[in-house]
């Protein structure tokens, strides 16, 4: 197991390196033209562009450019030339907001998906299963920007039940923090609950006919124990992979729409605004930031996976 973990972490470092090279190429090499102009943003003058060219080494070979760019990102020297703000400081400021949204939503969607998926599988073909199927499809089909906007309008603006967007740090008021996050959590979770509960339902129905489940029943275990220890445990394995990927993406600022609709001012909203401004330094930094979380969560998932399924440790 220890060797497995070390191997996974080493490969994670390699993947991250590859991603940094790739995103550097996408932003600075592939588009052609002068990378310094793009980096400078819309309202730059020639002197600024010249300074940027020198700073990033855009007049030097590619590996120097790559080295200097990464150095700027990882030492926190990267500046947005449009807003004059330090990019890394901005991201750091946004992280608690994005994390609060991501962690809360990931817990909610996983809990509901397990409960609904299991319930649906137990009632497969019956009325309640069909109702849940329709609800899941509705959840999957609703775009978050639309559903979020509806919630904001009806529950926030019209009914006044919830604050109309915004974020309150947990240190300031834990209740207000929670209160402000209820709608974003719900909006973000709905889609995932739909997808995950459908997948889990299918997995459970496959697993429940497996021979070892019959063995578990023949042993005289209580039905609850059969379901949780034998059926659910095996059905969860594929879900965990998916969850890791989605959770990683949301942690890395992937919930761009949710953050923006509810004005959470997280990493995703920062990316959204930077893209709108054609402000390249933040976009570049957030890409690497997001990639880092996806790769990290993927690694964690692989390790959890091995703990869940002992057969994987061999390969």
């Amino acid at each position: 197991m220890a060797r497995f973990v070390v191997r996974r972490i080493l490969s994670m470092v390699l993947v991250l390196f590859a991603i940094s090279v790739l995103s550097f190429s996408i932003f600075n090499v592939i588009p052609g033209g002068d990378p310094a102009v793009r980096m400078a943003g819309r309202n730059a003058n020639t002197a600024q562009i010249d300074a940027i060219r020198k700073d990033f080494g855009f007049d030097k070979p590619l590996y120097v450019q790559y080295g200097k760019t990464m150095q700027k990102i990882f030492t926190g020297d990267l500046i947005s030339y449009s807003s004059r703000l330090n990019v890394v400081d901005e991201i750091k400021k946004d992280i608690p907001r994005t994390f609060a949204l991501a962690i809360g939503a990931a817990i909610i969607w996983m809990a509901f998906a397990i409960a609904l998926g299991l319930f649906s599988a137990m009632r497969a073909g019956q009325f309640s299963d069909r109702v849940l199927t329709v609800l899941a499809l509705v959840g999957i089909s609703m775009p978050v920007f639309w559903f979020g906007a509806l919630m904001n309008y009806y529950l926030g603006f019209k009914a006044g039940l919830f604050p109309n967007g915004g974020y309150v740090p947990i240190a300031e008021s834990p209740w207000q923090w929670f209160y402000h996050l209820i709608m974003p959590w719900t909006a973000l979770s709905i889609l995932f609950i739909g997808v995950y509960s459908r997948i889990l339902r299918g997995n459970v129905l496959d697993t429940i006919n497996d021979d070892y489940v019959r063995t578990a029943r023949a042993k005289g275990l209580p039905e609850r124990q059969v379901l949780v220890k034998h059926v659910l445990r095996n059905s969860l394995i594929p879900i965990v992979t998916l969850w890791g990927l989605d959770f990683g993406a949301v942690l890395g600022g992937g919930a761009i729409l949710t953050e923006t609709v509810f004005d959470l001012q997280g990493v995703g909203q920062y990316a959204f605004e930077a893209i709108g401004e054609l402000d390249q330094p933040p976009v570049m930094a957030i890409t690497i930031f997001a990639a880092f979380f996806i790769v990290l969560l993927n690694t964690i998932v692989d390790i959890v996976y091995a703990a869940l399924d002992p057969r994987i440790r061999l390969s």
Partner: protein
């Protein structure tokens, strides 16, 4: 056979509602079982023998299944029992070993835990005590270094070892009845012999009765006391091992015996087999179900024969064939010469 009866099955019926209609998997099966007895239930694939076995533990219950008849285990009726009553009997009083040891153990749990959970489901036992008991059981079924192996996962074991684990698990609560559903089918021949030997030894040590479901007459000859031959959901012949092997009454039994290949006889040019296929259980022929495949069928065979004494040597040797005993004796000889029946068994 008037001794204490552990299990009395009477007129057991199981049918499943499917897209092709109602499938009568088990149709009026009756037998009984005394302590320490080994009853073999034999027949081709799909004749209802596994369904019979699993129904005793309620493992065939589903929204699409219908049941009839009774199965009384020590005063408890199993067919109509509540899920909770059955749960207490499962694994504790009646334990089951399944066909495929490769898939019958949960791949994600250690084998020790899988035995321990069964022990703890049936009594207030601490984890540590149950674990000791599991180690003892594994040693008893012949797993070396059981104390270490208890922490292994099923994929670290071979098929034969896994089947031993299944047996250890089945024995963990000292059941009075052990149902073995094709316990050796998935194993190679040398391991088969070991597993059968273990089952027989354990019967001798614990006095548990065994229901052995199999299609392998070699296995039957090895350990059974009594044999029930099933065809298309019905028992067509029932008698002691010797009666079934040396004085078979039903043409289907002759066919089964005739299809054993033997190393002590000249090699046949074709493997002997019963012609045709078993009927669909959703659409069975009227009367004797074996009629369409039976070379000796006659007019009366369109009526359903009861399972009763018809000409064996003891009144307990019962079958479902309309042929009169004299005709059977003669036809058996003919079948022996045509290869349907081994010649040395053809003389009554």
């Amino acid at each position: 056979m008037s001794a204490e009866r552990l299990l009395e099955v009477d007129g057991l019926e199981v049918s499943f509602q499917t897209e092709e209609g109602l499938v009568h998997a088990v149709d009026g099966v009756s037998f009984d079982l005394g302590p320490g007895e080994i009853l073999a239930v034999v027949g081709e694939s799909g004749c209802g023998k596994s369904v019979t076995a699993m129904t005793l533990l309620g493992l065939t219950r589903s929204p699409n299944s219908r049941f009839g008849g009774t199965a009384i285990y020590r005063g408890t009726e199993l067919v109509g029992a509540s899920d909770d009553e059955l749960r207490k009997i499962r694994g504790a009083e009646i334990a089951m070993i399944f066909q495929d040891p490769m898939t019958s153990l949960n791949p994600v749990h250690r084998i020790g835990d899988q035995i321990v959970e069964q022990i703890r489901a049936h009594g207030p036992v601490t984890e540590a005590v149950a674990m000791e008991r599991a180690i003892e059981l594994l040693e008893r079924v012949g797993i070396p270094r059981a104390r270490e192996r208890i922490r292994s996962y099923p994929h670290e074991f071979s098929g034969g070892m896994r089947q031993r684990v299944m047996i250890a698990m089945a024995l963990s609560c000292d059941p009075s009845v052990l149902i073995a559903d094709e316990p050796t089918t998935a194993l190679d021949v040398t391991i088969q012999a070991q597993i059968l030997g273990r089952i027989r030894d354990l019967r001798d040590e614990t006095g548990a009765a065994v229901i052995l479901v199999t299609h392998d007459l070699g296995v039957v000859a090895e350990i059974a006391d009594r044999v029930a031959v099933m065809y298309a959901g019905r028992i067509v012949e029932h008698g002691t091992l010797d009666e079934i092997f040396y004085d078979p009454q039903h043409p289907y039994t002759w066919g089964l015996l005739g299809s054993i290949t033997r190393v002590d006889r000249p090699r046949p040019t074709r493997l002997p087999a019963i012609g045709g296929l078993p009927p669909s259980l959703a659409d069975r022929p009227e009367g004797c179900h074996f009629r369409p495949r039976c070379p000796h069928a006659f007019a009366k065979c369109t009526e359903t024969p009861d399972l009763e004494f018809r000409g064996g040597k003891t009144p307990d040797h019962i079958d479902r064939c309309w042929l009169d005993p004299e005709a059977k004796r003669k036809l058996r000889v003919v079948d022996g010469q045509t290869g349907l029946m081994p010649p040395d068994r053809a003389t009554a």
